[in-house]
Symmetry: C2
Subunit: 232 residues, 2 copies
DNA sequence: CGTGCCATTGACCATTATCAAACGACGTGG
DNA sequence: CCACGTCGTTTGATAATGGTCAATGGCACG
């Protein structure tokens, strides 16, 4: 593993509190892999062999049933994933697919569980990580149940715009079809919803989104920190 | 606190591994309260003062936004709740209301965090609890996104029937309106969906549900352990 | 310079929500 | 003991939301 990659892992909140020796054990057991766009890294229902850390790229988590497919979340680096499955040693509940070419650090599940047993710093960080993940999904469930699809879109644009720095313009981080699935809608509906948001001052040019009138978009979106604030 | 109540708490997976001395600290700091039906115990957005343990009764967790209200989950005793909020010391993401008169053990959040810091057994149990909770919500999100409302109902009836012992008849554990909200539908729709399930051999008499033909209901429901199995 | 995929648009359909009304169980007060 | 009101449930009619199907245009890539 390149020093560069292990540094990224070390800097994650999940690993920052691990004792150096234990961290080295984990890194020594792990390795790095690079996957092209569209690779399915993990399959719903299988058993977790590795804790994964996304170092670069983008990964979508999705689940299938009844000939339908739903994106549960999209992960941006750096971040660990499938921690819960590794901890409880239960089957993956979601599949994962790269949305762009991605590099992933793989740490054997057994090593993770061992270090978890003897390193209280790691245990604490695991708790914090899981608690945050849990809260994130609760927010997502609220998002789905309490808002229409255009409202979800409007709020997604708002948070995206605010994360992309002051100017009201940003580039979609992935294809519109991926965004549609992430927001629980069809691509056709996303198109229509984007067109509808012109009334709220949002203009679209290919992958570029421009928030022309933030106040108007906020009025339409009715953002709620208990749904949209990733830090709360 | 009655010995009876503290025993129930002690037997929970979350507390079973806590060192006896630490457990006594928690219990000494806590107290029991009984609430009538319909009491709102906690309010979305407020700060967590206590870790709660439901000892008897039933509690619905719900969130409000845009004049809408959505039930996120319904808890049956014995179980701890709002653990994640206590751990990260963040605002409640959901409100909680008793569906029947309920007794709850309240343990001050500070005491929980203190014991959490020095008791590795508790830390480990917390991790397990959070990981399971996380996975439960992921399943719920899949349930909402991958199934129609009648499918959700059919699968709910299936698991309920299997948990209520061999005979295919059971009593709804709460009002139909609460069930409707739990399943993400309106009471009117629940009525219609129940009527529709007659084709799958389900008969309804007030609060009594009878699964006349399990095979037929299974064929309709298409149950999926990665959504419906609470243990996986 | 095709070929394929994504995005968009329009027409139509399915699902679910909303509104309204009526029924029945239940409890209260005359 | 009965009249009445309340509330949960059911049923019907209608509207809104989102999904499906089909056709088209644009763009990248071979």
């Amino acid at each position: 593993m390149r020093r560069e990659d292990s540094e990224i892992v070390r800097e994650l909140p999940l690993f920052r509190g691990v004792e150096l020796e234990n961290f080295r054990t984990l890194i020594a057991a792990g390795y790095v892999q690079r996957f092209p766009t569209g690779t399915v890294l993990i399959h719903e229902g299988e058993r977790p062999d590795f804790l994964h850390v996304l170092v670069d790229g983008q990964i979508a988590f999705f689940a299938s049933h009844n000939d339908r497919e739903a994106t549960v979340s999209i992960l941006t680096p750096p971040a660990a994933f499938i921690l819960a499955a590794v901890i409880v040693d239960g089957p993956y509940l979601k599949s994962a697919r790269t949305l762009s070419s991605s590099t992933v650090v793989l740490i054997p599940a057994g090593a993770v569980r061992e270090v978890f047993e003897r390193d209280t710093g790691f245990a604490r960080a695991t708790v914090a990580e899981l608690a945050c993940r849990y809260r994130t999904i609760v927010k997502e469930l609220k998002n789905v149940r309490l808002r229409s699809s255009s409202e979800r879109l409007a709020n997604w644009i708002l948070t995206q715009a605010s994360q992309s720095g002051g100017c009201g313009t940003f580039r979609l981080p992935f294809e519109k079809r991926a965004l549609a699935s992430r927001l629980g809608m069809r691509p056709e509906n996303l198109s229509r919803a984007l067109a509808e948001l012109a009334e709220a001052g949002v203009t679209v040019d290919g992958p570029m989104i421009r928030v022309g009138d933030a106040a108007k978009l906020i009025a339409f979106s009715k953002p709620n920190p208990l749904i949209d604030d990733p830090t709360s």
